[in-house]
């Protein structure tokens, strides 16, 4: 009897905590469907008295969140592919071959990722201006690739190093060169780690604010995360439209998370179990 009471209490408490945790999200979704008149008359703290999609139309068209989303994807997808591609060849060389100074190289690369980005902001904004790429999506892609590489290389290195030696030796005996071994033996075996890092880096890059506002100036080139801040200026006190814009901006990362849930959580835990 007391055991059942305990279980009931546990679920009651945890259910309440979980509800409180998701409530802010639900509340914003509810507000995003309320009309301006309803919000103006009843306040943001009241229950809804209206239902409209016009907020989404406004955010999508007037604020051009559609273009911002396209910009985000134009940056995020190439940046994820490039950084994982470069990181996996570097990790392969460092993990599977006896390269001079391999530990130093790996150490330096990881250290680069641990630097606070603030130290890089001014030199990088100057550098992209110098090479004529200021205010372009290409510059933003390059920054993300450069800054993320170290961590991805380190994680993939740990993963590739633990693959058994024999498979590589067997392929060597079969006459495969290092490039072939990488593409047809090592890379397929690294897929779980790549999936985890892919899901993680997608959300990191998609969610970035600091680099975007450092390298990009024009509103029509802003990815959706920084563009969301502009929305506040555009729709002063139209919190229902801002809420709709927020929901739109959150959808892609939620979709990636739901699709790659296992990999995502596994990726976050990389390194925690060491």
């Amino acid at each position: 009897m007391s055991n059942r009471l305990k279980t009931g209490g546990y679920h009651l408490a945890m259910g309440l905590v979980s509800f409180l945790w998701v409530a802010p999200i639900l509340w914003v979704v509810v507000i995003s469907f309320r009309s301006f008149d309803d919000v103006a008359a009843n306040g943001l703290g009241s229950l809804p008295h209206s239902f409209t999609f016009s907020t989404y139309v406004q955010a999508w068209q007037d604020a051009d969140e559609f273009r911002a989303l396209v910009n985000s994807l134009l940056v995020t997808i190439p940046a994820v592919l490039l950084s994982l591609g470069l990181a996996s060849i570097a990790a392969y060389g460092l993990a599977r071959y006896n390269i001079p100074f391999r530990r130093t190289v790996l150490l330096l690369m990881l250290m680069g990722n641990l630097l606070p980005p603030q130290i890089l902001l001014i030199p990088i904004s100057r550098f992209v201006e110098l090479i004529g790429y200021y205010d372009t999506l290409i510059a933003l892609i390059a920054v993300h690739v450069g800054f993320g590489l170290g961590f991805y290389t380190f994680v993939l290195h740990g993963f590739m190093r633990d693959l058994p030696k024999e498979i590589q030796e067997a392929a060597t005996i079969d006459g495969a060169g290092p490039g072939k071994i990488f593409a047809s033996v090592i890379l397929p075996l690294t897929r779980p780690a790549l999936a985890a890092l892919g899901a993680l880096s997608f959300t990191w890059i998609f969610n970035d604010l600091l680099w975007s506002i450092t390298v990009i100036r024009s509103g029509d080139k802003m990815p959706v995360t920084p563009a969301l801040l502009g929305l506040q200026g555009l729709f002063v006190s139209s919190w229902n439209v801002i809420a709709a814009g927020t929901v739109i901006a959150a959808v892609p990362t939620v979709a990636v998370f739901l699709k790659f849930q296992k990999h995502f959580v596994g990726g976050l835990a990389i390194g925690a179990v060491k």
């Binding site: 979980s18 590489l149 490039g179 604010l209 600091l210």
Partner: protein, 305 residues
């Protein structure tokens, strides 16, 4: 045991004999990514350190001033506020997210009905960007928003204030959403760590008559040493980097009351274009993180060998 050791030795020897030189392709494999990082990280970082020793308005050439910028900080009240707020941020944001994340992981570690839903609920905010998080909470803090309605509803109406516009509350009003998002993240790290603890240890402790509390204190916590140090590094590095959430909610205001070193660095660099002084602030952020970064690197590479 010895047989396999010998086998490994001979294999290592033969591998060395077979491939004395690394193929140029492999060297390119390592060199190209390293060069990319060198261009986008190492070189700018070196420039950043050098710029911290200069005065620079971004138009004329930088002039060398030695450690002058660091001297200026001592008498800069905004810098002192930012430093103090960063310390508060570290203690509150860091401490509470570890406490909350660890507590939730303990409560949700056992697989039982409903646990999956509770974990998912706590984890959901981690998926959002900090800007999305900031906007969600700005909606809350609006006058007549939910926070105010609830406070009035429970009879605490005189507590109502412009949360983000009041210098006394702005910093804490920003920490709450940051925590909301971080606790789920820390929880996932601890859940992974708890999973790796050998169940036999708990069994043994239970046989010896240890209570649940004692098992947590004497079995779980010592076993989590590795996770603890990872979480500590992540938290400290994250706290010092924290920028997005503050910038999206208050931009460091009002009157610099929620200014962190990271936001102060940004506005000094890109709004008042004191590029030398801003670089010096960035160097301070780096120095504060240095001990943790070094610890992280040492641990990561001890396990490498």
């Amino acid at each position: 045991m010895t047989a396999s050791a010998i086998e490994v030795k001979t294999r290592a020897g033969s591998a060395k004999r077979r491939s004395p030189r690394v193929s140029p392709l492999i060297l390119a494999f390592v060199f190209v990514p390293f060069a990319v990082e060198a261009v986008w990280v190492f070189w700018p970082a070196l420039q950043g350190f050098w710029l911290s020793l200069t005065n620079w308005d971004g138009l004329s050439a930088p002039t060398f001033v030695g450690f002058g910028n660091f001297g200026d900080m001592v008498s800069d009240p905004i810098f002192r506020t930012a430093l103090k707020n960063t310390a508060i941020w570290l203690v509150l944001f860091g401490g509470l997210s570890v406490a909350g994340g660890f507590g939730m992981a303990l409560l949700l570690q056992k697989e039982r009905r409903g646990v999956g839903i509770y974990r998912a609920a706590l984890f959901t905010p981690v998926v959002f960007s900090l800007v999305v998080t900031a906007l969600i909470w700005r909606v809350f803090y609006q006058p007549d928003g939910l926070v105010d309605s609830v406070l009035r509803g429970v009879g605490l109406g005189d507590l109502v204030r412009p949360w983000l516009a009041d210098p006394d509350t702005a910093l804490y009003a920003v920490i709450v959403p940051a925590l909301w998002r971080q606790i789920g993240y820390v929880m996932v790290l601890y859940l992974a760590g708890l999973k790796a603890v050998d169940p036999a240890l708990y069994e043994a402790a239970r046989m010896d008559g240890a209570s649940a509390l004692q098992r947590t204190r004497y079995v779980t916590i010592p076993q989590l040493k590795g996770v603890n140090s990872v979480v500590l590094s992540v938290i400290v590095i994250d706290s010092l980097r924290s920028f997005d959430i503050v910038w999206s909610m208050t931009k460091g205001g009002p009157y610099h009351s929620s200014e962190l070193l990271s936001t102060y660095m940004y506005s000094t660099a890109f709004q008042s274009t004191q590029l030398g002084y801003a670089s010096a602030i960035a160097v301070v952020i780096f120095l504060l993180a240095l001990a943790v970064i070094l610890g992280y690197l040492i641990r990561a590479f001890r396990e490498e060998t």
